[in-house]
Structures are given as C-alpha cells and as structure tokens.
Amino acid sequence: MDSSIAQKTWELENNIVSMETPPTNSTADTSASDAIFFYDEGAQTKFQQEKPWVNDPHYFKRVKISALALLKMVVHARSGGTIEVMGLMQGKTDGDAIIVMDAFALPVEGTETRVNAQADAYEYMVDYSQTNKQAGRLENAVGWYHSHPGYGCWLSGIDVSTQMLNQQFQEPFLAVVIDPTRTVSAGKVEIGAFRTYPEGYKPPDEPISEYQTIPLNKIEDFGVHCKQYYSLDITYFKSSLDCHLLDLLWNKYWVNTLSSSPLLGNGDYVAGQISDLAEKLEQAENQLSHSRYGPLIAPPPRRKEEDSQLAKITRDSAKITVEQVHGLMSQVIKDILFNSVRQSTKTHAGPSDPEPMIES
C-alpha cells in the first residue's frame, strides 16, 4: 500500500525508531517495549546523586524525544508565529541519553530580551508539575525548549548564558531549539539539542555540525558563541499505540498533501531569505573587490574565507530555489487535477434532480 511506503521513507528520513519489537501476537511483548514509559523513581534518584556529568562536560551524547513531546513543541512553536516561544520538557535520563517524554508551554514570550524569563514562569511551572504528578506523570523537568522562527537552530548569547546557569543549578538539563518556519518550508523538523560547556572549557576537537544558513543580522551572535556548546544527536520514539494511531492517520493524510499550499504560507519567509542573500552577496562582493586589486598583498587565508562565503551563498540560493520549485510543482499539479475539468454534461441533469446542497 502506497501509504506504507511513504511512511517508511519518512521514518527513515526523520530517524524515527519505534519502541516495539516486530509484530507478534503476544501482548507481553508490547508491554515490555513500552517499558520506556515506565518511570523508575529509585533509579532516577540514584542517578541524581551520582552526578556522572560533573567530571565530563561531554557526558550526555544522545537525546530521545517522544512523538508526543515533539508534536507539542512544534505545534506550540508554530502557534507563536514570528514570536519566540518557550516551554519546558519533562523526562528522565538513561546513561548518556536524556529522554524527553513530554513538553509543556510556558506563558512567556520573547526570551531574546530577558535572561530571567524563567523567573516569571516559576509559579506556573510549580503548579503544572504538581498537577501533573497527581495525574500520573511522574517525570521531572529535564530541559527547556524555545523557538527561533526563521533563523535556524542554534544558541544565541542570551540562550548560552541561560543554559550555563541551568547547567549549574538544575542538572541534568537540556536546551532544545526549534525553527517552525523552516520546518514548514523544508518539510523536515528543524530542531537542535544543545548542552553548553562550562566556562573556560576548550573542547578537544572541532565538532562537525550540519550547515545551516543564518541571516546576516544574527550571524555575529552565532559566530561569537558557537564554540561554547555542542549539539546532541536526536532520535524519536513512539509507543505501540502511537504507532497504530499514526498508521491510521496516514490514511487520512493524503488529503493534506494535495490541499496544502506551501508557497502561499511561507511568502514572507522566502522574501526575507532572498533579501538576506542579496545582502550577503553584497558583502562578499566588497571583500572580493579588495582582493581583486591586491592579490599580492592580501593574505591567503582571507581569500579562502571569501570563496567559501560565495560557496555558502550558492548553496543557500540553491536551497531556496528547490523549495520554491517544489511548492510550484504542487500548485501546478493541483491546478491540473481540479481546474481542468470541462463541464461536458451540463444538459445531462434531468428535471427530477434535486437542488444541490449548499456547502456550508
């Protein structure tokens, strides 16, 4: 069935691992694999006391996020529109992995201007955690997330200082950043999980991170702080019931593929990207014209920087184009499907036909 092929492809692309063994009839198996949902209080407190992360700043290497937490975070980030939103994540640890089971939104907006945004939300957090524990969600807060609408997943200066503070007093704690605008335009979740290094620590080697384009007005902030944290690998998991329900949802989803219009929705974002690209091009041009007249004087490293700058610009423009073209393809296909019908049987309707219902 095509939906299963489509689903498998997506699962592969997005690294989803479902916490279930191959389908068997025994119910004991499903309960064993859904075991990740069980909260072992004893093991967690023991881990808290041992604190293995104190000696190794690079201790936590992986993050596992549940389907529910991911969904909630993305929906919340998207609902903020162009405003940054933030929230907390709840979960537990498992060796060198941090497991995020759930997330909830905090009534705070615009973290970029206030370092102490969390102080305002403390009461909310306490109330929410209390009610959650009563309702059977026993996990503790294990991190915070916020959104960077349109400018990529990385930690800004304020984010880095907030996270450093968190890692001093609330360990183990994780920082997650989501970009809802790029998620929609790229069709894949733009998400990053980070932990900061303690003050003065120099990482032993350069981490290789996936390239992402950063707008000019933020690139300085990014560059200054990008060495102060490292990113963790993210995998996702879902329960057996989630699997089953999501499978069924696929059967409905095909409607969305045909009805969505990514070009219309993301118009501002694309325009912003192109103008940003134009500015970067101007900058690159200025630097290039300098070296053009003084190739003998300009030191070699500077030239390398410029050409890689041009390479970056080319890559960015290619990415924007690809997304636009895909959007256009969808529009053209929709046009052919739904607009090129010819009313050939206009006179066919007999006199006994009732009046068509007005679609509300």
């Binding site: 939906s3 092929i5 790229a186 069924l248 989803y253 070009l263 393809m329 607009n339 068509p356």
Partner: protein, 297 residues
Amino acid sequence: MASSSSSGLTFKLHPLVIVNISDHYTRVKSQMNHSSSATTTNDDNNNGAQPRVYGCVIGIQRGRTVEIFNSFELLYDPSTHSLDRAFLEKKQELYKKVFPHFYILGWYSTGSDAQESDMHIHKALMDINESPVYVLLNPSINPAQKDLPVTIFESERISVDHVAHLKPSDGGSAATQCQYPLPSVVVFFNFSDMNFALTCLAAHLTGIHSAIKMLNSRIRVLHHYLVAMQKGEIPCENSLLRQVSSLLRRLPAIESEKFQDDFLMEYNDTLLIAYLAMFTNCARYNILSFLPDFVSF
C-alpha cells in the same frame, strides 16, 4: 446508526489530541503493569486489563464547527464515579494562561464502547459547557482496522423532560476529520532532503503521487458504487447522490481571470528565483576567469 451528526455540527480533531490520549493511556498502563508484574507470581495475564483514563478536551467552537485542539488529564474518583472538580479547575486555569483562546469542549476516555456510567460524568460537565462532547478512543490495536478508532459523542437535549442521551455522531468521516493543515503533520509526512536535489525531487513527487493514487482509488470506489446504483443492484440513496452532485458542481475549483493572473505571477516568481540561483552559481565559477592564475579556489 445515523450517517451524519444529527445536530449538524462538524468536528475537527487535531492529531495532537489523539497522541495525547494515547500517551496518557500508555503511561498509566505501563505503570500499572510494572507494579502488578512485580507482585504477582503467575504469568502476565494482567496485560489483558485495559485501564480507563480520563481527561478533558479543549478547543474552539466557531458556529457549526467544533475544533478540538488539545487535551489534558483528569483525575477520576472511583468512589463518587465522577471527575475531580478542583483538579479540573486548576488545570483549566493553567491552560488558559498559555492558550487563552481555547475553552473546555468536553471530555475523553478510553475503552471500546460508551457506557452508562459515562452519562454521569457527561452530565457533571454540562455546567461548564452546555453541550459537551465525549471523545472515546479504543486503545486495542487491531491491525485489520482502516479507520481511526475514535468516536465522538454528543448529547441530545430533549427539552420536554430534560433527559440527555448520548448519540454518537458519525464514527467515520465526520468525527475523525483530521484534515488539519498541521505543520507537525506536514513534518511527519512530507519529505525533503536539501542535500541531494534529485533524491528530494523524487521524494517530493513520490509523495504527491501516492496522494493522487489515494484520491484516484477513492473516486473509483464512488464511481463503482454509483454505477451499481444505476444498474439497480443497490437501493438508491438520495442523500449520497446529492452530495456527489454538489461535489461535482464544485469543479473546476477556481476559474477566474484573477486566479489565472495570480497563478502565472507565482509561476514567474519561481522561475525568476531559479534564474537568480543559476546566475549565482555561474558567477561563482566564472570568477576564476577574472582573477590571476595563482589565485586558487
């Protein structure tokens, strides 16, 4: 069984609610199983017990459309057979702070069928919302199932004797109308890999292809049904005929000059962007011809 909601309401259920309920159920079940398997000595036949979980659904009602966006858990008091009221109000307050536009639309539970005791809870909620909805999720995993195991019940008020009955609205299409332009669903089901243009093109087109195939198969089913009706094999169902006829009259979807203009403008914009990208690409490699030979790129 009525084929559509009798009150004429359309329900839109956000997939987040479904995943929420599923997560709530899985959590409670795993806590229960873990503690029970530690105490019992015989094999796990406790896994057959399906705990019932309860919670509240929130969303917006606009006219005849009820959109259920989110949900949260509630405490069930088995002694009074009702939901903990103070807890509900506390939670509602918290959710109001973050989602000020949503209000309580009803409640949810898990199980295979609505029970009489549910009426009690339903009535209790009537003072918050005069016609609450009851969302029932069937957590048993049935691989043969094609449709979402979610049913939405709404109560019907008979004004004479103020007796409210639970009437299920269409368990199939109306209640599970998950046609939500969800970014997260887009995330789940759209493919795009920016590294390789060809693979991402292929992936994108495959997605559209599967969607069109589904559409085609559904239309075939309808067509087959209508032909059978024409031949007389199946009794004529006028409401269905009306729906099909109104659907057909909606095509072509948009056919105005303004649309054509806008469409072509969008088309041209995309071509321009592609052109610009092509230029940038060429410029990058052409720079070589302008600079002296010993400059290496």
